[in-house]
């Protein structure tokens, strides 16, 4: 099954990358953009027919490796 995972910075955590991109957009003439936040998006196939098990596995993958839960949140969808 295909899994889509979003990993984003927690609220209040500085996002230097977002800041720099926002600045660049501004100097490109896109003056009306604000609060740019950059995260990761992952797609992966998980070969696990049991949905509940797949769910538990993806959660474990996020907690253990894909997200840095000290500063990042994650969410995912199974398809």
């Amino acid at each position: 099954m295909k899994v889509k995972i979003h990993v984003t910075l927690k609220q209040g955590i500085l996002d230097p990358q977002g800041k720099a991109i926002e600045h660049a957009l501004d100097s490109l003439g896109f003056k009306n953009t604000a609060n740019m936040r950059v995260g990761k998006y992952m797609e992966v196939d998980v070969n696990e027919p049991d949905r509940a098990k797949a769910d538990a596995q993806v959660k474990a993958m996020c907690e253990k490796l894909l997200a840095n839960t000290v500063i990042e949140d994650y969410r995912y969808e199974l398809q």
Binding site: P16, Q17, A20, I21, A24
Partner: protein, 236 residues
């Protein structure tokens, strides 16, 4: 000879490039702030290494929109010598002055070490002091040096002898083990079809002085100066 070294926010090899041309090779150097334009009278332009805009988003992606880049493109299109080292190479790619893109190193790590590169084309404006096939020991220092382009473009630049340097072993063999970053075809440096724009990942400015134990990089700068045909070339 007057060399322009462009300073982007986050450039950090700008002083090193200045030092080589000015203090080591006795040329004039003008530091060009990225928000300005090129003043007349420059003989060559150098885009130095570093982390322009922190390498945020993609390496070179934001720097290519710096105001100075319009003038750099015009300079290149008129046939002026332009060289991009490391981050400078990445900027040239994003700016479309050279074909292809840089991906993350296959190890995902930043890698700083000496590598060997083979001079694939010694008949260029940047390598005329080298022998064809000569092996140079030059350091790399990057996290995104994994050159990539589509097969058609690759075929084109190969056919056109635009591949200037390839990673190789000390003996000059171009092998996967000698490839530090996963770069397509072991490509370490390429030039444009016209031969006046060069991008290379290794840092020749870090190995052009006896006191640093290696002078291989000097060959590249001497080649450029030779190309610029100025008889008053003095090497101090």
């Amino acid at each position: 000879m007057k060399i322009g070294v462009v300073v982007f926010p986050g450039s950090n090899c700008d002083h090193d490039c200045q030092y080589i041309f000015q203090d080591v090779l006795g040329q004039k150097v003008e530091m060009v702030w990225h928000k300005e334009t090129l003043r007349p009278g420059l003989d060559a332009i150098l885009l130095p290494g570093g982390f322009s805009y922190g390498d945020y988003l993609r390496t070179g992606a934001i720097a290519r929109f710096s105001p100075v880049m319009t003038a750099v493109k015009a300079f290149a299109n008129k046939g002026g010598l332009v060289m991009g080292i490391c981050n400078g190479f990445q900027i040239l790619l994003e700016a479309g002055l050279l074909p292809g893109v840089m991906l993350r190193n296959t190890s995902l790590n930043f890698i700083c070490k000496d590598v060997f590169v083979k001079v694939e084309n010694a008949a260029t404006r940047f390598t005329n002091h080298c022998e064809s096939g000569q092996v140079l020991k030059i350091p790399i220092a990057h996290a995104d040096g994994n050159y990539y382009t589509d097969p058609v473009t690759l075929g084109g630049i190969k056919a056109n002898a635009q591949v200037v340097f390839r990673y190789c072993t000390a003996e000059g063999k171009v092998t996967p083990e000698a490839n530090p970053n996963g770069s397509l075809d072991n490509i370490a440096g390429i030039m444009n079809a016209e031969g006046n724009v060069l991008g290379m990942m290794p840092h020749p400015e870090r190995c052009a002085e006896t006191v640093l134990g290696n002078e291989a990089g000097r060959l590249i700068f001497l080649s450029m100066l030779e190309t610029l045909h100025k008889p008053q070339l003095t090497v101090v």
